[in-house]
């Protein structure tokens, strides 16, 4: 695929985080693809809209394949070229009853330090309490997903790539096609995993970085969006059912947040959301080549963490014919 005529005839379908990054990675190499999405610019129709925006490869490593940690480590630097990335690390805490969970999480992850007392209070004063220990992952980061999508769209526009609104499937389009439509692509082996989230606003608590609460039944993460806005996520249910967040999910997310800090009880619920994460069986994303079509899919809960690496591997293949570890040949 390194023929020059092919490089001038590339179309990306889907303008979620995968498609936008694919376009950006190609533009970095002087290639200007077409970018088409049936809904146009990114918005509530895509699962990228509902993401947490944590760039936390080491925390994710507790339950992910090594590839997620390896590629995820570069995400913060990649995103920093496009949007504001808060390089403030992340914290993992438990309720007093579940202290053993913290030891276990510490054993199963790396690149963290144990903090308590004054050290914890210096990081997040509102979370410090007598006897509480936390794990601090100093090199992790977070971003604001919706701002990041808008910033990516703007960066692409400066390079002459705009999101065209229109229905398209790879069969309709000649040349090389990058299919980044997520679940709409119906890629073999792909399934939807439902996730639900809540946005709260309160001035009664301040957090500077994402906080994960380990809980045997209701694990939770809270990502501060600034201006008193907090994103609470996320359920993970083996279901491809769409539709609004359920009462049960809301109860679980809000109860866990309340248990973490009672001030969340008085927060305003400003938004709820539910969508499906496209996932392969091993929860690792793939670039799958099928003839002239490259499928970039299966980012699961790691859209922002792994889209830059996935796009880079697609671009490497298109430009140089190089096949990375996320590359699969369907032919």
């Amino acid at each position: 695929m390194s023929d020059n005529s092919e490089l001038s005839d590339i179309t990306i379908i889907g303008a979620g985080v995968a498609g936008l990054w694919a376009a950006y990675a190609l533009s970095e190499r002087g290639i200007t693809p077409r970018l088409i999405d049936r809904h146009g610019a990114p918005g509530a129709h895509g699962c990228s809209w509902w993401a947490g925006g944590m760039l936390a490869p080491f925390c994710e490593g507790a339950t992910s394949e090594p590839a997620v940690i390896r590629h995820g480590q570069h995400a913060a630097a990649d995103w920093a070229g496009v949007t504001d990335v808060a390089q403030k690390g992340s914290l993992v805490v438990t309720l007093a009853r579940d202290r053993a969970e913290l030891d276990r999480f510490a054993r199963r992850t790396s690149d963290h330090a144990r903090v308590s007392g004054d050290a914890l209070a210096a990081l997040e004063p509102d979370l410090a309490q007598q006897g509480r220990e936390a794990l601090y992952f100093a090199t992790e980061s977070h971003l604001s997903p919706r701002r990041a999508l808008a910033d990516l769209v703007a960066a692409l526009a400066r390079r002459g790539i705009t999101v065209e609104q229109g229905e398209a499937t790879p069969a309709d389009i000649p040349g090389t096609v990058l299919d980044c439509r997520g679940l709409a692509a119906d890629t073999p082996g792909l399934r939807g995993v439902r996730g639900e989230m809540v946005m709260l606003r309160t001035d009664d608590i301040t957090l500077c970085r994402p906080v994960r609460l380990l809980h045997p039944r209701h694990p939770l993460y809270i990502v501060p969006r600034g201006d008193g806005v907090f994103m609470l996520g996320a359920t993970q249910i083996e279901s491809a059912r769409r539709g609004p967040v359920t009462a049960r999910a809301l109860l679980e997310l809000l109860s866990a947040a309340y248990a973490l800090h009672p001030a969340f009880a008085e927060a305003a619920v400003i938004e709820t959301g539910a969508d499906l994460r496209p996932a392969f069986a091993d929860h690792v994303p793939r670039v799958i080549r099928q003839g002239r079509v490259l499928h970039l899919n299966g980012l699961f809960r790691h859209g922002y963490l792994l889209a830059p690496a996935l796009a880079r591997q697609a671009a490497d293949f298109i430009e140089l014919g190089r096949k990375g570890d996320l590359f699969h040949d369907a032919d």
Binding site: T63, S64, E65, R104, R107, R108, R191, G192, R194, P216, I237, E238, S239, A240, R241, R242, R248, A279, F280, A281, D282, H283
Partner: protein, 253 residues
């Protein structure tokens, strides 16, 4: 090995399908363990879990749908009917939870649901405490398998009431029994099998282990070891030491 509603199992290990890091890890765990039965919860996947259900069917083991998370007989009966349609099996692991914190089964709701489901032709595997009176009522209702708990679900505490489990086992020698819930270590599984239970069912202990596949293999081995030991008729513990080599005739030096 004893049969479960006419089905003889290759392995006395039954594994749950929740909480694994990914379906790929789950599949590898099943393969490593040699488990013969996969339990699957329908409750929260209502109407949209087809892709995941296909993966479970693809494991090539017997599927035992459950009514996990149901707090009333009515809910459990509805879930069981749905499970029968989705998985095309009359098997149902009946779980009616009575207490949100301990997740202990509601014996009254369980009995009510078991009576209704047996009458509808279901082959019911009731999740229960080790209570003998309840066991008798469930057998009277038509249950031909019983599933006493080892300890609260997900607690990993092992066999909390060995006396209760032992007497239950002895009271119903003809009924296949599975120790379900609370098993945290392979030794707990081996223990249950040595006590004469016919199978063990667990989920968290494998799915949440640091290496689920390795832990699954350990459980497969332990359950098999316990079953073999039971069949081999173990020696009885005794207070007096008995030398395994004769001492008489040894040289006195």
């Amino acid at each position: 090995m004893r049969d479960f509603y006419g089905v003889t199992l290759d392995s006395p290990l039954m594994l749950g399908t929740a909480q694994y890091p990914s379906p790929a890890v789950m599949e590898a765990a099943f393969r490593a363990s040699g488990a013969s039965v996969a339990t699957v919860s329908l409750r929260r996947e209502t109407g949209g879990g087809q892709a995941f259900w296909q993966m479970i069917k693809g494991l090539g083991v017997h599927v035992l749908p459950n009514t996990a998370g149901c707090y009333s007989a009515r809910e459990a009966i509805t879930t069981a009917r749905m499970a029968r349609e989705v998985f095309e099996t009359n098997w149902i692991k009946l779980e009616v939870i009575g207490h949100a914190d301990t997740l202990q089964p509601d014996p009254f709701g369980t009995l009510e649901a078991a009576e209704a489901l047996c009458a509808e032709g279901f082959e019911v595997f009731p999740y229960m405490t080790e209570d003998q009176v309840l066991a008798q009522r469930l057998v009277d209702a038509g249950c031909r398998v019983l599933m006493p708990w080892g300890a609260p679900i997900g607690s990993g505490l092992g066999l909390n009431n060995r006396y209760g489990l032992r007497t239950l086992r002895a009271a119903f020698p003809e009924i296949p029994m599975v120790v379900d819930a609370g098993i945290g270590l392979p030794s707990h599984a081996g223990d249950a099998m040595e006590m004469g239970f016919d199978a063990v069912l667990l989920n968290t202990a494998v799915a949440q282990a640091g290496d689920p596949v390795m832990m699954a293999e350990a459980f497969g081995l332990a359950a098999r070891a316990g079953a073999l030991a039971r069949r081999a008729d173990p020696m009885a513990p005794r207070d007096m030491a008995v030398p395994s080599t004769p001492v008489i005739g040894k040289a006195w030096l």
